[in-house]
Symmetry: C2
């Protein structure tokens, strides 16, 4: 699934969240929102620098962290070797295919959490992540 957005649309997307739109941030945002895929920092680094390098690894991390902090994307922790960034911030969950290391969205309505335990005293609920680990038979 791809989703074409104009540079202007992406610029105001950032502005609406209080993020100063710089060249690097626009490139990374464009990439995330046009692809609508689950990308790792490394994926973003490769894609944004396809051809000549223009954006450093550190900037990729800064930018992804900033976007996540401002609710533009969401971190998904399912793979011990890396964090994924999901441009879909609506409530939903994930299949994690341990054979391929890929994530697949699960629409929120397909997972029904009937009961949640009481949050420990003095703590604030931040979010609930459901990861359904699946595997292609015959693979490790």
């Amino acid at each position: 699934m791809t989703n074409n957005m104009s540079a202007d649309q992406i610029t105001s997307l950032l502005r609406n969240r209080g993020i100063t739109p710089t060249a690097q941030r626009l490139e990374i945002a464009e990439l995330l929102f046009s692809r609508c895929e689950h990308l790792s920092a490394e994926d973003v680094f490769q894609l944004v620098n396809a051809g000549a390098q223009r954006v450093s690894k550190a900037t990729v991390y800064n930018t992804l962290g900033l976007f996540a902090e401002h609710g533009l994307i969401r971190e998904v922790i399912a793979d011990p070797t890396k964090v994924f960034f999901d441009p879909n911030t609506t409530p939903h969950h994930h299949f994690f295919d341990i054979s391929s290391g890929k994530l697949i969205d699960i629409p929120a309505e397909q997972v029904h959490i009937g009961a949640l335990p009481e949050v420990p005293a003095g703590m604030q609920l931040e979010g609930v992540d459901v990861i359904v680990r699946v595997r292609r038979p015959g693979t490790v």
Copy 2:
């Protein structure tokens, strides 16, 4: 919570799973099952080598991986910076306190998953992990 087990009990615990009990493995197992805590590889490395070093980092990783593979412990992926190892392998879920980086068990019966989506074609269900992220107010 601590749980005292004799060296013999731990030895047969490993044997029952088809794991040859070596000195290093017994030390690590003893540590995991007496503490009943969520430990990272680094934690295990520190604890097992309190005093003089006897077990290398690589052996710690090998051993934890082996134990997990044989169902003696369970990997919990909640913190992007490291993997936790949980000696409790009964079905249950976790709070992850993002302020302190600590895990707290949630008994299985306190989380009720009413519906699960159909596993993608040709895939095999491996497990379902529910991570409830919580935070101490005022912390990042």
